[in-house]
Structure formats: structure tokens, C-alpha cells
């Protein structure tokens, strides 16, 4: 166990260094397009890290996390545009609502296994999408256009500067990372490992494991919803398709899968590689209109998932990857 704790201290140390370096990056990168990619990368790192808590560590693969993302985005935007509630409170409200919904859904869903569970998560998120699509008060398909009233930290709006968004996304990514780091060594983390190593243990630990899964679902949904709130502020326009679509659930999972599912560093690594790749292929090859960007992007996903099934994180560390 000594080496385990040594390694955890090293992880924490490395995280501090990375976060510090990332915080300094805007000093050197002035181009807003590149800054935009950095914001998205951090946002996806945070989202994927949060997704990883439930799907990686807990083994409950969700392809419906767009639901929580959308609820976060909508709660913030609706509270602000309809009632004038500042986004900071909206963010918290969205997180809490999402966490409650996640627990409510987890209760029946955690009985399902494998693909039955995965499809249930997809289907539930699709129901949410359709409801928002037809909910006139919430803008239905027209979405919500958040009016811009100039730079202000209170309303978390900045006309041109990306820096406030960058630092918020960085903070969110750090929080998500730290929560994961902390969970790894908690009672919950211990049970999850136990269940994975020995499925029979699941039986004897039944109730406590079930409760820990509910907890993981809540934490995961809460953090993803904060990400959704952030997205609403960052883009300042949301509509059901762009915050709750199925694509979003996949995009959230991809960095963790490519980086290393159920690992501490996988989501970060995956996001750092995947998001710039997505953006750059679209921007610089997508303009041809011939679908080459899709071929490159999809081809890389196939190659990476076949060549490094345990994730790219294996390239950087000798650390044992928890088996699925």
C-alpha cells in the first residue's frame, strides 16, 4: 500500500504542475481560435473525467450523459432569461437537479446489465431531448438566445475575451480530476475495485455497492451539468439538439475511452489529443465539403481503439491499468 500512496502523491504533484502550466498557457497563446480550442479541450476533459467516474470506475457505461449536460445548460439559461437569476446560482441549481435526476434514474437502471443499461441511458436522454424539443416555454426548437450585455463576471459574459472561460474550464477540469483522485482512495473506490476484481464480491456487498453507484451517478451528473451551464454561457445560445443530442453523449465518452477508461489520467490525455484533432480537421480539411475530415477522424478512432485497447495512457505510465 505504500507504493499506492506514493503514487497518489506523485499524481497530485504532477496534476499541480500541469494545472500551473496550463494556467500560464494564455500568456503565450494569443490567437483566439487556438484559445477556443483550449477552452473546448478543458471542457471536454472535465466532462469526460466526470463521465469516467460513473462509467469507468463504477463500470456503468452511460451513453446518455447529454441529458445532464442539457439540463445544466437549460437550467442556467432559463433561470437567467426568464427570472434574471445570475448564472452562478443557475449553475448550482442545474447541478443539483441533474444529480437528483441521476439518482432517480439510477434506482431502476442499475439493475440492468451490459448493453441493456447502455441502451436505457441512450433512450432516457432521447426522451429528454424530445421533451425539450416540444416544450414551448423553454423555447422548443428555437432554443434560448442569451442576450449579451458586455463583459461582466456577475453574469459570466465576455464579448471577445476567452480568458475567463478558459480559467473557468481549467478550474472545472481540476475539480473533476481532484474528485476522481479523491474517490480512488475512498471507500467507494475500494468497493468498485473489489467488485471488478471479483464479481462474486458484488453479491455480498450488494447494498453498499448499490448506494455507492447512486453516489457516483449523482457526482458524475452534477459535474457534467456544471459543464452544461458553462457551455450555455460560453456559446450564449443553446437549442435542444446542440446540448442534448446523442452525439454529445458520445463526444463526452470518447476522450476517456481513447485515453484510458477507468483511469485517472485517461480523460485528460484523451481530450488533449482528440479535441484539437476534431477542431483542426474540421477547420482545415472540412472546408472541402467532401467528408475527408470524417474519414480521418473516424479512422483514428478505429486505429487507436484497436491498437491501444487499454487507452493511450498506457504509453506514458507503467502503472497497472484497472481491468474492465
Amino acid at each position: 500500500m505504500d507504493s499506492f500512496h506514493q503514487r497518489r502523491r506523485r499524481d497530485l504533484f504532477v496534476a499541480f504542475i500541469f494545472a500551473g502550466l496550463a494556467a500560464l498557457a494564455p500568456l503565450f497563446v494569443k490567437d483566439v481560435y487556438v484559445q477556443n480550442i483550449m477552452v473546448l479541450t478543458l471542457m471536454y476533459a472535465a466532462l469526460s473525467q466526470s463521465w469516467n467516474i460513473l462509467s469507468g470506475y463504477c463500470g456503468q457505461i452511460s451513453l446518455g450523459h447529454a441529458l445532464y449536460f442539457g439540463i445544466g445548460a437549460y437550467t442556467t439559461a432559463l433561470l437567467f432569461t426568464k427570472f434574471g437569476v445570475l448564472p452562478w446560482f443557475g449553475m448550482l441549481a442545474g447541478g443539483v437537479i441533474s444529480a437528483l435526476i441521476a439518482m432517480g434514474l439510477g434506482y431502476p437502471c442499475f439493475r440492468l446489465r451490459g448493453h441493456y443499461f447502455v441502451i436505457a441511458t441512450i433512450v432516457i436522454a432521447e426522451i429528454g431531448l424530445l421533451l425539450f424539443h416540444n416544450w414551448t416555454w423553454a423555447g422548443a426548437a428555437l432554443g434560448i438566445d442569451i442576450p449579451i450585455r458586455g463583459d461582466n463576471w456577475l453574469t459570466f459574459q465576455f464579448t471577445r475575451s476567452k480568458l475567463p472561460y478558459f480559467y473557468f474550464a481549467l478550474a472545472l477540469a481540476c475539480v473533476a480530476w481532484f474528485v476522481t483522485w479523491w474517490l480512488e482512495d475512498s471507500k467507494w473506490g475500494f468497493w468498485w475495485r473489489a467488485v471488478k476484481d471479483n464479481p462474486d464480491a458484488a453479491e455480498s456487498l450488494g447494498v453498499v455497492v448499490f448506494n455507492s453507484k447512486m453516489g457516483a451517478a449523482a457526482v458524475s451528473a452534477f459535474l457534467v451539468a456544471i459543464g452544461g451551464s458553462f457551455y450555455a454561457q460560453f456559446v450564449s445560445y443553446i437549442d435542444p439538439e446542440s446540448v442534448m443530442g446523442f452525439q454529445f453523449s458520445l463526444l463526452m465518452a470518447l476522450p476517456a475511452v481513447l485515453g484510458g477508461i477507468g483511469t485517472l489520467w485517461g480523460p485528460v490525455l484523451g481530450a488533449v489529443i482528440l479535441i484539437p484533432l476534431t477542431e483542426l480537421t474540421r477547420s482545415y480539411i472540412g472546408g472541402s465539403g467532401r467528408g475527408v475530415d470524417l474519414i480521418v477522424y473516424g479512422g483514428l478512432i478505429v486505429l487507436i481503439s484497436l491498437a491501444r485497447p487499454q487507452g493511450l495512457v498506457g504509453l506514458f505510465s507503467s502503472r497497472k491499468v484497472p481491468a474492465q
Binding site: A140, Y237, Y284
Partner: protein, 414 residues
Amino acid sequence: MKITRRDVLLGATATAALAPLGARAQTSEVVIGVIYPLSGASAQIGVDAQKAFETAADLINKNYDFELPLAKGEGIPGLGGAKVRLVFADHQADPQKGRAEAERLITQEKVCAVIGTYQSAVAVTVSQICERYGVPFLSADNSSPSLHRRGLKFYFRAAPHDEMFSQAMFDFFDAMKKKGTKIDTLALFHEDTIFGTDSGNAQLKLANERGYKIATDIKYRANSPSLSAEVQQLKAANADVLMPSSYTTDGILLVKTMAELGYKPNAIVAQDAGFSEKALYDAVGDKLEGVISRGSFSLDLAEKRPMVGKINDMFKARSGKDFNDYSSRQFMGLIVMAEAINRAKSTDGEKIREALVATDLPGEQTIMPWKRVKFDSMGQNNDADPVLLQYIGGKFVTIFPPQAAVAQAVWPMK
């Protein structure tokens, strides 16, 4: 990044090659950003749009003898004959990506104006970014009426929006009723994205104002695998007029399903979109004899204005298709923008904006049946009269309004 550098090099080479041609202002090219869905479900629109914009750029950059702004002579005279260079970007129908691309075009490619976007949801974010950077944005083909009502200074739309389009439809109904045609009940059939929702709302409002009964109002999920249940309800309602607001995919499926379920409406008056696409008529044109669609373009304008036919041929040579409602608006989008840049004599955003505000282009100098191009305080051109076209014998003829009509409406449809 490599590609940007290459583009810069290419640009530089081109400039060097042109240098001996003579005196020019310091601006040798005018870079305009064009944002469309170039991959994903609506890539077909984006790919056609590229051809329309390239046709317009070609007209500006080379010497043609048309009564169209900037067609005569090479390049933009107000900037010493500078050539228009288009930079295309792909937004994949995602508002966030549209926003990122707009920002990239403005900050990296240094575009002086942006045109787009097909999807109205993307126009919302793209126009926001343009507003923030003080770069004019022109909605070439977005028809959502909410777009110009957001108090943006740099937003312009030369084409009509859905309320104007729907108004034309109801004017037409009123006129037909006066002639004794029975039009009492309407069936609305619209998809559930921003386009269908806006269109459905506008039609519902107008129907109530003008005393038409809505027999049924069906909102359906775009790209559904089946429309049987929906068509069944349309058939049961059996309204005097069916008014679909559908994109190409759903339009094809709608018409096929109607034929399969033996539903033959008296008349179809479509809110354009899919019903102006060649693909739809290739697929189910034989079942659509007599369908009426709103539009802002009609090829039979070529009889009055020969250049329309010639420019259409130029577009056809590139794309293999005739101009339709979308490609014609996209084409005009670039012409209107370039005409303003010419008068602005500058690539500065504020100056171009002032020039756009002062735009007053007579309809004869466009390829559209519009009265003129003149923007109101919200950036909307209210003189862009929409027309109604009827599909007769494999092509569209203009039937409304009377001053543009070349034929009487055939009612009921065959």
C-alpha cells in the same frame, strides 16, 4: 496550420503574378468568409452553396456584360480592382462550431464580411460573433424571422423571412377565394427544428387573423424513419390545402407515403425548403404536378431579364443543377455584400456596415423578382417580395403575385 500558411503563400504568389497589371490600392484581395454545413446530414446544401458562391465570385472577379453590380470589369473597382477571395468553413449544423469557425475566419483569415449559414440556429451564434468583432454578417438563406429582431447592428438579410413568405401564401389564398375557389381549411405539417417551428407559428398566426380554419396542425420529428401515422392524420383531416414545411428528406418521404396511403390533397402550398430541391423532384416529381411552393427565385424571370438565364447556365456548368431558392439567395448574398464593399471603398467592418445600411439596389439589377434591396433599421430587406411558384410540366412557373405571374394557378392540383 500548414494549410493556412500554404494559403497565404498561394495568395502571395497570386498577388505577385498580378502585380505588373498596374496601379492598385493597397488591398489586393477582399476575403469573405462563407460558413455552411459541408459535412453531416445537410452537407448537400453546403456543397451546392459553394458552387453558388463561386459563381458569384467569378462574376465579380472576371469581366461579364450583365446589368448586375460588379459584373462588368474585373474585381471590385472601389478597391482598385481587388479580387474577391472566398474562404469556406464547415459548421456541421452545430451552433458552437459555427461560432468557432466565424471567430477563426475573422481573426485568422482576416475576412471582412461573413455570409451563411442555412441552419437558422447556427446563424444565431455566427451573427453574435460577427457583432462582437464588428464584422458584417449577411444571412443569405436563413428564413427564421426571429433572427433580425435581436437588435444586432451588423446583421443583414436581403431575402424574405418566413413571415413574409407565409404572408404571400395567405394573400394568394385570399385572392383565390375572391375568385370563388373554396379554401376554408388548412392542414399544417411542419418539422420540429427551428425552421419548421417558425414556419408553423407564422402560418398559425396568419390563419387565425384571416379566418382560415386549421383542420390539423402536425409537428413531426425531422428525419423520421416513417411518416405513415402522420400522413394518416393528414388524410383524415382532408383539408382544402396541405401546407408542408419540410426539408428534402422528409419531403420525399411525405410525398411517397401520401401516394402509398392513397391521399391526394386538393392543393399543396409548400414552405420551400425540400420543395425547391431538385433531388425531391427527381424522386417524386411525377406525384407533384401542380404543387405550389413559395420562393424568392424563378427561372421564368429569364424571359424578362435574359441575364438570369445566362447566370443560371454558369451555375449549372459548375453544379449540374439549376438555381433554386437556396442557391439563388446564396448567389445574391455575395453580390449584395460585394456591392456594399465596393461603395465602402474599404474592408473595415464599420465602413462596410455603413455602406450596407445605405444599400439601395433596384430589383432589375438582381436575379430575383425582388422590388429592390434596401435594409430597414433591423437589417431586413422588406422589399424582397416572395413569389409563389407552381410545378407544371417539369418546371416551375410563377403564379403569384400578379405583377410577377406568368401563368394562372392550376387549382386543384392534378
